[in-house]
């Protein structure tokens, strides 16, 4: 009859002999186990992984979707807060936060519990991605306006009224919130598809579509107020 025993975490450790690698260190490397008791024996003891980190990570590596959900429930708020601190735009921060977890699912072995808690790792990734987002936006804003302008002079057969409408549309586009303006400019002045916009902005395709919808609604209202499009 097999007798099940409870889990044992962290064997008792022999004193280290100079010039040797203790067998428990060799064994941890061999088996892929994380000895939390050993990791705790340094001044970073507040920043060691928890047993939950270790188990959740193993389950995500094994392709368990429930484990990803648990990671998201545990750390989604922190990751969103980190992204929002950097970006200052809730919608963009949500997109960045989701991408952090999607990337963790896609490449779970990029995280190694032996090097620190999952919470810290996710937060660092969120910070890095949020900074990348901000830098991309800054680069886009520095691009000359002519990159997004249609022809400066309307074609000869275009009427004055049509040219005027174009000018008013361009003005309205410039008044849109940053995230919506970027999507509109990529669609109408660079001719990108939703998918291409999503790739360019580093957002999910669904988000690209919803931003376009919001932008067009605002533009329609703005232009209707000016008597255009009625």
């Amino acid at each position: 009859m097999m007798r099940e025993r409870g889990a044992v975490i962290g064997p008792s450790l022999p004193p280290m002999s100079p010039g040797t690698v203790p067998v428990h260190v060799r064994m941890a490397h061999l088996t892929g186990t994380v000895d939390i008791a050993v990791l705790g024996e340094n001044r970073l003891s507040a920043v060691v992984p928890t047993q939950r980190d270790v188990t959740l990570h193993s389950r995500v590596v094994a392709g368990e979707e429930d484990a990803l959900g648990e990671v998201y429930q545990a750390f989604g708020g922190l990751v969103l807060a980190m992204a929002n601190r950097v970006i200052g735009d809730r919608d963009a921060a949500r997109d960045v936060a989701q991408e952090v977890f999607v990337q963790f699912w896609q490449r779970p072995l990029a995280y190694d519990p032996a090097r620190g808690p999952l919470r810290s790792w996710l937060a660092m990734v969120a910070h890095r991605r949020a900074v990348d987002w901000v830098r991309r936006e800054e680069r886009r804003r520095r691009l000359p306006i002519t990159a997004f302008e249609p022809l400066e002079h309307p074609p000869p057969d275009e009427t004055v009224e049509t040219a005027d409408v174009h000018c008013r549309v361009r003005r309205s586009v410039q008044t849109l919130p940053e995230t919506l303006r970027a999507a509109v400019e990529l669609a109408f002045y660079r001719g990108l598809t939703y998918r291409e916009i999503a790739v360019e902005l580093g957002i999910p395709e669904g988000t690209a579509k919803s931003r376009m919808r919001s932008a067009l609604q605002r533009l329609a209202r703005s232009l209707a107020d000016e008597g255009i499009g009625r």
């Binding site: 007798r3 889990a7 044992v8 064997p11 186990t33 708020g77 999607v102 090097r115 810290s120």
Partner: protein
């Protein structure tokens, strides 16, 4: 600095655990190193956010956003296949292979593996071959996925042992890119999973695969074991550490290994007999009796127990797989040490390629 990893000095600084000389050194370094400066800023922000604040517990992990996350996640990496509980180690091991292959580039896949003359990339075809042998005796539908590249006779012929079938798959896929072989392997995993999910009662059916006759449940654990071990081999070639499987995954593997070992003849001193109580520690662990020279009695007398061997469960499995030697493991032995040496010598002999 690898993405997301901590500079230990920056981490210590962010937790106010540096002495003044270390702070001064870090400040001087950060002035010239944008990566460390960014990291210090991030660490400081994380410490500030570490005090629980209700403003970011705002339901961001709502059911709606979780659903959106899972949809996006599935598009990037498929989850482990759905299987009945007895096959969950097989599904988990398949997930590990997917995770490892996401990290292994062509250089890593070309490195030699511990198996015959195969590269670690060849191990994916090898796993596909072994799965095909099991799938051939299951009701997987009209076509085994592997028969898209080679005839079914190559899998089911009486002469088709695992090495032969592997070589046939390797030859048939030689001109395919590695991700195509990955997809072929995964299609075979999915076919087995679907067959088992449709008929969970298959678990108790006794079938012969590659000359081994046992239940489907035991065969699937053997497949899980092999899949996990080769996932480790690929990970090692890619320079990454595959985390230890959970107790739910490694426990059944260890128990099947102990059952296969039970009763095998002593390899060092022929004719030697005795019973070892194998105590496996760690998640999924437990105690089981392993007979050397004769099967262990179901209810042994105390005199029959001639030795106790205590080992970490993952370490024991690696010993069986030939990926660890006894000297690499923390073993505790009481009683007949000679009998334990017999068992330790037997362990790696039950694993094939």
């Amino acid at each position: 600095m690898p993405d997301g990893y901590e500079n230990s000095l920056v981490t210590a600084w962010s937790h106010a655990r540096c002495d003044p000389d270390e702070v001064s050194a870090l400040a001087g370094h950060a002035a010239a190193c944008p990566a460390c400066r960014d990291e210090a800023a991030a660490r400081q922000m994380l410490v500030e956010l570490s005090v629980d604040r209700p403003e970011w517990e705002d339901g961001s992990a709502s059911a709606a956003s979780l659903g959106s996350l899972l949809d996006a996640a599935r598009a990037r990496r498929r989850p482990a296949p759905a299987v009945p509980p007895f096959a969950s180690p097989f599904a988990a091991a398949a997930g590990m292979v997917d995770a490892v292959l996401a990290e292994a580039d062509s250089t890593a896949l070309a490195r030699p593996s511990p198996v015959l003359d195969w590269s670690v990339g060849d191990l994916v075809a090898h796993l596909a071959a072994g799965n095909a042998q099991l799938a051939a005796v299951l009701p997987v539908g009209s076509m085994l996925p592997v028969t898209s590249v080679l005839p079914v006779e190559a899998v089911v012929s009486p002469d088709a042992d695992l090495v032969t079938v592997t070589r046939a798959v390797l030859a048939a896929t030689a001109d395919l890119p590695s991700d195509a072989v990955h997809r072929l392997w995964r299609a075979g995993v999915d076919a087995i999973a679907a067959a088992l999910l449709a008929e969970p009662d298959l678990a108790d059916q006794v079938v012969e695969v590659d000359g081994h006759r046992t239940t489907v449940a035991a065969h699937i654990i053997v497949r899980a074991f092999e899949t996990w071990i080769h996932a480790r081999d690929i990970a090692a070639a890619a320079g990454i550490t595959l985390p230890a499987p959970t107790g739910e995954t490694v426990g059944p593997m260890a128990r099947v290994a102990a059952r296969v070992l039970d009763g095998r003849p002593a390899p060092i001193t022929p004719g030697r007999t005795g019973t070892v109580r194998l105590n496996l520690t760690g998640p999924g662990g437990g105690s089981m009796l392993v007979g050397v020279g004769a099967p262990a009695a179901v209810a042994p007398r105390s005199a029959d127990l001639t030795a106790d061997l205590t080992a970490d469960i993952v370490g024991f499995c690696l010993l069986v797989a030939g990926r660890a030697a006894p000297a690499d493991l923390e073993l505790a032995v009481t009683g007949d040490a000679g009998l334990v040496r017999e068992l330790l010598a037997l362990a790696p002999t039950i694993s094939g390629p």
